[in-house]
């Protein structure tokens, strides 16, 4: 029982962070119709920024967190302006290859600056735990769940009730028509990238608080799994990203916790197998909209 509960808590923690990252993928995909492969690497850069602030300059934790989110947002904005904007309107193959290129670029820059070894953070957000009955619940888990939930709700409201949010919906529905109605498409896409990357920054903080370490490949592995979660839940849908992220986190924690030792090597493959199956059986995901192709 104890074991099951702690596994579930682990799964929810992981799942919440997945959900945040999946949200970034989902928003960008919904609006720019592109798969931002570099999204995971933005997280990696975010964690490194925490590392630099905390370990090297020993800045206070709140400042570090602000810097992390700011770095991610600026990075997302820059990447969009420099790499993706010139390719707007190109075939999706070109855009995807560019995104892979950006992901590689960020990874290798990190490799160059920080070398390949894993770096550990110094006591970033160590909050202890509270006692519930005979059970210890880490406070950081509460923080992670709370943050994710609040962000989901705020984002949902933002999209439904502000003019910027409605502009996003319009652009994701039909770029051309939105432009004719006076929506500034380029600016809307930029804003989406900034929001998505800022979410990546928040995810970076939560990831750093949970795992306390980083290497240049942290982001890409995590990013691909989060993308799997986004697709699983139905890309382009905010509740979908949430459900997808949470279920992936739970499945992963359960397989790691309860699979026999000899099969533990496969636990990494679970997310991928799930993704393949989901896309084959229901390409639009759990909550996704079905696309009808017109000639």
């Amino acid at each position: 029982m104890q074991m099951l509960i702690s596994t579930l808590i682990d799964g929810l923690n992981l799942g919440s962070v997945y959900a945040l990252v999946a949200l970034g993928y989902s928003m960008v995909y919904g609006i720019a119709k592109m798969l931002n492969f570099a999204h995971g690497d933005v997280i990696m850069v975010g964690i490194y920024s925490i590392f630099v602030c905390l370990n090297m300059n020993s800045l206070p934790v709140p400042v570090t967190m602000l810097i992390c989110v700011a770095v991610c947002a600026v990075l997302g904005f820059t990447v969009e302006k420099l790499a993706y904007k010139p390719l707007r309107g190109s075939p999706s193959l070109s855009v995807l290859i560019t995104a892979i290129g950006v992901s590689y670029l960020l990874q290798n820059l990190a490799l160059l600056f920080f070398k390949s070894e894993r770096r550990f953070l110094q006591n970033f957000l160590q909050l202890g735990s509270i006692q519930i009955g005979s059970f210890e619940l880490p406070v950081i888990s509460l923080v992670i769940w709370g943050t994710t939930l609040v962000i989901m709700i705020v984002l949902n409201l933002l999209i439904k009730y502000t003019s910027m949010g409605r502009a996003m919906l319009a652009v994701s529905e039909d770029k051309g028509a939105a432009q004719l109605m006076g929506v500034n498409v380029n600016r809307t896409i930029s804003i989406t990238f900034v929001i998505g990357s800022a979410l990546a920054g928040v995810a970076a903080i939560l990831y750093a608080a949970k795992y306390q370490n980083v290497d240049p490949y942290t982001g890409s592995v995590f990013g691909i799994k989060a993308f799997a979660a986004a697709v699983f839940g139905g890309i382009g849908s905010i509740p979908g990203a949430m459900i997808g992220g949470l279920s992936l986190g739970l499945i992963e924690a359960l397989t790691i916790g309860f699979l026999p030792e000899s099969l533990s090597a496969v636990s990494d493959g679970i997310a991928y197998a799930l993704l393949v199956l989901m896309l084959i059986l229901k390409p639009s995901g759990l909550l996704g909209k079905k696309k009808v192709e017109k000639v």
């Binding site: 995909y29 592109m34 798969l35 790499a83 010139p86 390719l87 190109s90 999706s92 193959l93 070109s94 855009v95 995807l96 290859i97 560019t98 892979i100 290129g101 950006v102 590689y104 670029l105 990874q107 290798n108 820059l109 490799l111 160059l112 691909i224 993308f227 799997a228 697709v231 000899s262 099969l263 090597a265 496969v266 990494d268 493959g269 997310a271 991928y272 197998a273 993704l275 393949v276 896309l279 084959i280 390409p283 000639v295």
Partner: protein, 332 residues
């Protein structure tokens, strides 16, 4: 009589065959004479199987226009099945190699056939992500299949004693693959493939069976990737799941993109350059992947920018004009 002979000499088959034999002769001689250093010799074999892998990916990305990020999966299936055949059978080395190639190629082709049947509905980004996930899935499955060595890898794969023989064997595979791909892309089937790439709906409306063609291309491509895997296993003598990660697929993709997707010659040249690059830029190894990344981004931007497109059209026109003048002269 004379004109017949001239025709034969001017034919592509003759020129290509002569060039292939000449290149082999020169390289084999250089290896045998000991002029190439050891690392250069092994680079030559690496070029052979990387070119084979890149060509197989080119069939899917360049000719069919679908992005596969999981070619490492077929490469891995081929390498593991072919090399396991060689390790667990008791045959002369040459038969082990040929048998390994067949087994590896066919196993990879079966996997390619199955996965392509499953993903027919998907296109673009989704296809890319499924193939990527599939590649990683295969890599983690390989770890738990008994007899394949788990995470430590499959060891003790037989290898050719002399480098000349090793190079020759890899080279023969490569040449056969190039001939096969050339003939395929210049056949009726090949033209249907490019028709689907250029406009799937138009292709379907003139009666091309898109699904069957896609499955065919994926199967052939997987077969060739499997061959590349077997050749790589015979060269390395041990293979681990780590040899087949996502980076391999990306590296092959860089080769295809750099070679100008859908061009056999371009892919061969680009792959050779990329394999040789670390040797050429000694001490720059840290920057190698960085350079790949920048090359990928730059190539896509150049392709997208209208100025560059206009320039390329102009250049192509000039080259074609020059070429047609040249061939006219030769015909006279």
């Amino acid at each position: 009589m004379k004109s017949n002979l001239r025709k034969i000499f001017a034919s592509r088959v003759f020129i290509g065959g002569a060039a292939a034999i000449a290149i082999w002769g020169v390289l084999a001689l250089l290896i045998a004479a000991g002029i190439f250093s050891r690392s250069m010799q092994s680079l030559l074999i690496q070029i052979c199987y990387y070119v084979t892998l890149a060509l197989s990916l080119d069939l899917v990305v360049g000719y069919l226009g679908d992005l596969s990020l999981g070619h490492a999966a077929f490469y891995a299936v081929g390498a593991y099945s072919g090399c396991a055949f060689a390790v667990y059978t008791n045959l002369p080395l040459a038969l082990k190699f040929i048998g390994g190639l067949l087994v590896g190629g066919i196993c990879a082709a079966i996997v390619g056939f199955l996965i392509s049947c499953a993903i027919l509905k998907l296109r673009g980004d989704y296809l890319a992500i499924v193939t990527l996930a599939f590649g990683e899935f295969v890599r983690s499955i390989v770890k738990i299949i008994p007899g394949l060595g788990g995470t430590k890898g499959l060891l003790g794969i037989p290898s050719f004693d002399s480098r000349v023989v090793g190079f020759t064997a890899s080279y023969i595979v490569l040449v056969l693959v190039i001939v096969a791909i050339y003939n395929f892309t210049h056949s009726r089937h090949g033209r249907t493939v490019t028709a689907i790439r250029d406009n799937a709906i138009a292709a379907e409306s003139v009666g091309i069976n898109i699904k069957r063609t896609k499955v065919l291309v994926f199967t052939i491509s997987a077969f060739i990737a499997g061959l590349a895997g077997v050749v790589s296993g015979f060269y390395k003598t041990s293979i681990t799941p780590g040899d087949f990660d996502y980076n391999v697929s990306i590296e092959a993709l860089v080769m295809v993109v750099l070679g100008g997707m859908g061009s056999i010659r371009g892919t061969v040249i680009a792959s050779a350059i990329i394999v040789l690059l670390p040797e050429l830029l000694r001490g720059m190894d840290e920057y190698r992947m960085l350079i790949y990344a920048i090359v990928l981004i730059a190539m896509m931007m150049i392709k997208a920018s209208p100025k560059c497109r206009a320039l390329k059209e102009k250049l192509d026109g000039k080259i074609n004009g020059f070429r047609s003048r040249f061939t006219r002269k030769r015909a006279k």
